[in-house]
Amino acid sequence: MRQRGRVVACAVLVALAAGPVAAADRVKVGFIATFSGPIGLIGQHMIDGFTLGVDHAGGKLGGLPTEVIREDDQLKPDVGLQAAKKLLERDRVDFVVGTIFSNVMMAMYKPVVEAKTFLISPNAGPSPIAGAQCSPWFFSSSWQNDGAHEAMGKHVQDNGYKRVYLMAPNYQAGKDALAGFKRYYKGEVIGEVYTAINQPDYSAELAQLRAAKPDAVYVFQPGGMGVNYVKQYAQAGLLAEVPLFSAFTVEETTLKALGDAAVGVYGTAFWTPDLDNPVSKRFVADFEKKYGYTPSLYAAQAYDAALLIDNAVRAVKGKIEDKEALRAALRKPTFQSVRGGTIKYNTNHFPVQNFYLYQVVKDPAGKLRLENRGVVFTNHADPYASECPMKW
């Protein structure tokens, strides 16, 4: 990375000596995600999805030679902030794409948007950014955090479960998740338990859960936490007794590790790999061919981020220095998204979109996959947009 930095620096010096540089002869994207540690797998899905998006744009976003600079935030807000500053000040990127976790996003958000650089979030959608702190420089290619949880709340409500037990890790996104669920679930919440982040063993909490005798359980345990949770839920024999509903817990990044323990578990998401539209089908097929594994929703969101940039740069005919025109183009994307059709942005630059229910099934070949069980929300808008002062 440092080597490349030097080469770029030399190139810049040579170019300066040669005379004025032609404007916008290329597009530079800084890509921040967690690439190390257990969450590194999600980062891998994302950069692979983004790279495939660049490939499908002919290797050139908006027809301009494209350079993607990758930075690892290590799931630490301070490291994420440093990475963003480096991308802004040293690499002078045109777009920042990032990141996975909401706490890291909150740390890097202000510096990027205050530098008047477009920030595309391929995952994190914390409520402040959707509400009062919304920015004309921020766009989401994923969702506002609450969406999938609200969808599951509605599904559990609609299916008549009366006594529900809730569990999430003890941090902001965990609390937001359960708040989102309760916004649409009106039955009785008989337990609301917050576990430690990265807790490996849930035996004590699961024994309490069994004793409470709930009708259903809703859980948000992202990444490796979800693997442990669901495995132990199954080992305790609970899966046969109490249906398990989840979001961001059982999906393609955790499915292999979960194995048969995950069969039957429900989840909600804006996209599933079997979603029936031509863009999604092509994305999944090409992704599996190129990388040898099935893309998760994280990969799909990052793929859309690449297509969103490509689409906007094309719309302004490569004049990315005209930021106003670029923003107008970002607000009205015309490309076909993996979610089917074009992305419709709300006033806070978060998509208005469908959320689906899915269930883990085992196909006859013995392979686990997520099967779409139909739409829960159609054209769902997040509840924070009204707090966002931005008008357009």
Binding site: G37, N170, S203, A204, A207, Q208, A211, V227, A236, A257
Partner: protein
């Protein structure tokens, strides 16, 4: 309080306790006898889990994987002692902390390179993957019962080893006065290597037994390491008996705290505040316990070192 729930949570606490004991037994011996602060002990736990999963994928058998992974982890431990730890005996504790912290980074990166970024999963044979009815209304996973049994058997084995054999006598002597043991002509180098190998095997056993319960991933050893240090501080450094008592104490306090403290707080506080304070207090309990023990008995419950 519901007695059935209390029984189940007691078993959960016991299971965490014996797991911690396996870790603490090795660490306390290495600290007590070799006077080495070995932060890389958690890495050996991780290596044990990774080796078990690798051997399982290679042989297809759970039992074979366990039988191969155990000596393999001991071998890794002995190699680490010969290559790195041996150079640290004469250095002060800060150097040891730095060097063994380096080993943590090395092992975490190594398993990431060899084992991949994704968490690994260890399957259980069908006989162990079910659950049994202990008393009406209390179902408990068979595997966790097996873990408790194995842990207690190992404790018994260690007790025999330490109190009944010549090696055990040397270990006890080494824990109370190292210089004297060396002065009496015992090959202290060899003793150190054996103790480190034994500690590695115990940590590996803890890791490979935890393997089927949790996801096996880079960095899984560090949270366990912290708890293990709490255990050996409470138990008294160098004491196996102290390690056993403290491990089970920590296991029970942690589990019972997590299970019963938040609901208990909920009866006296509004739900919002109880949800905030409950998990925080529960995760603090064992450190409160450690502080309490240190205040009353600064040497731990069963201090082994006298000089």
């Amino acid at each position: 309080m519901d007695p059935v729930l209390l029984l189940v949570q007691g078993l959960n606490g016991l299971q965490l306790g014996v797991m911690l004991f396996l870790m603490a037994a090795g660490l306390t011996l290495i600290f007590g006898i070799m006077n080495i602060v070995n932060l890389a002990h958690g890495s050996l736990y991780m290596v044990g889990a990774y080796l078990a999963v690798a051997f399982q994928e290679w042989t297809g058998s759970y039992l074979l994987a366990i039988l191969l992974a155990l000596p393999a982890t001991a071998l890794v431990g002995i190699t680490v002692e010969a290559v790195a730890i041996r150079r640290l005996y004469t250095r002060d504790h800060l150097d040891q902390v730095l060097a063994t912290f380096g080993l943590i980074l090395f092992f975490n990166e190594l398993v990431r390179i060899l084992g991949g970024k994704a968490a690994r999963y260890m399957a259980l044979p069908a006989a162990l993957s079910g659950h049994v009815q202990l008393v009406p209304g209390a179902r408990y996973p068979v595997y966790r019962l097996v873990v408790v049994a194995v842990g207690l058997l190992v404790a018994l084995f260690l007790y025999g080893l330490i109190t009944r054999t010549r090696l055990g006598m040397l270990i006890r002597a080494g824990a109370s006065n190292r210089q004297m043991v060396a002065a009496l002509g015992v090959n202290i180098r060899l003793l150190y290597t054996l103790v480190f190998g034994l500690g590695a095997a115990l940590a590996g056993l803890a890791g490979l037994m935890t393997g089927p319960l949790v996801s096996i991933e880079s960095g899984m050893g560090e949270p366990v390491l912290i708890l293990t240090f709490v255990v050996i501080v409470i138990g008294g450094i160098g004491s196996i008996r102290g390690a056993l008592v403290a491990a089970i104490l920590v296991g029970l306090v942690d589990t019972m705290g997590r299970a019963f403290l938040p609901p208990a707080l909920g009866t006296v506080l509004p739900p919002q505040a109880a949800n905030q304070a409950g998990p925080a207090l529960a995760s603090m309990l064992i450190y409160v316990l450690m502080a309490g023990v240190l205040a009353v008995r600064p040497e731990g419950l069963f201090p082994a070192r006298t000089g």
